[in-house]
């Protein structure tokens, strides 16, 4: 019999589709941005992993990259941007400052963006190399693939 159909789980297909079409919103505030730019451009080429389309509007993005230091003054802005993104959405904290405040343990700097928004993957380093950013992206893809997907019929079924 000619096999022109496949059987799979809806969760699996949704995860597969979502992990390879991440639209990213880069929230770049500091020097880690240079490493992110290197990762995004041709030499390291983040597009190989399906995350090549950068959107400069949070409403069109589903991956928030927080790249660099976030101050207390900036915290409401970051929160607003996260809230504007549509579900499903993921967050990567790139660099020591975004992860924990880094070297800035003082009155002005938020001690890690997980104080403001939930974070999926943390990348340490000051700054992290582009390979580390790609590695984090692959880790996030694995997470997306294996997590229960949010979809409309799931709510209808009440599961």
């Amino acid at each position: 019999m000619k096999a022109d159909f496949i059987t799979t789980k809806l969760d699996y297909v949704l995860g597969w589709a979502r992990k390879f079409s991440l639209f990213q919103y880069p929230f770049v505030t500091a020097c880690c941005g240079m490493e992110y730019m290197a990762a995004a451009c041709a030499h390291f080429d983040i597009d190989r992993f399906g995350a090549g389309l950068t959107r400069f509007s949070p409403r069109q993005a589903d991956l928030l990259l927080v790249v660099g230091t976030v101050t207390q003054k900036l915290a409401p802005v970051l929160r607003k941007i996260y809230d504007q993104m549509t579900e499903p959405k993921w967050v990567i904290a790139i660099g020591a400052c975004a992860v924990s405040g880094g070297i800035y343990n003082n009155y002005a700097v938020v001690q890690g963006i997980d104080k403001i928004i939930p974070v999926d993957v943390y990348i340490p380093g000051c700054p992290p190399r582009p390979e580390a950013i790609l590695d984090a992206l692959i880790k996030l893809q694995n997470k997306i693939q294996n997590q229960p997907q949010a979809w409309k019929w799931r709510e209808k079924l009440g599961k």
Binding site: Q72, R79, N106, Y107, A108, V110, K115
Partner: protein
Amino acid sequence: MERETRKMKESKTIKILKEKFPKDILKFSAPFGDETLLIKKDSLIKIMKFLKENPELGYSLLLDITCVDYLGEKPRFELIYHIYSFRLNHRLRIKTRIDEKNPITESVISLWKNANWLEREVYDMFGIKFKNHPDLRRILMYDEFEGYPLRKDYPLRKRQPRLPGLE
């Protein structure tokens, strides 16, 4: 500070100033060759105006205003002005001490317009108020911030998160 004072000739500016304001100048030093004058707080505007408007001197550029908190000393704060004369190609540092109980001094905006933001920064970080400043608000920190973070008695670990429920 005196340990590095070189045995150099006093510049023209210092000679003129010492002649003109003998009672207002408390101390002269030249650490690393940078001539520094400690003056009385009340004669700040008088001396600054003279430095800027005297045709021989012409200190037309205000480079920076900053402050140091010498906690425990009296008076506690030291306000520092860096000014520059194109005519003489000379840099001058003017210092004045400010008391903790009444941290207020005259603004120099009437002489140099860029003092506006510099004085706002000193106000933001040290809480020193400037008389006759047109717009004395915080410049770096947000308006809800309490206290002055660069004062030595501001707690190192104190956090004032702007979003409620943080930290």
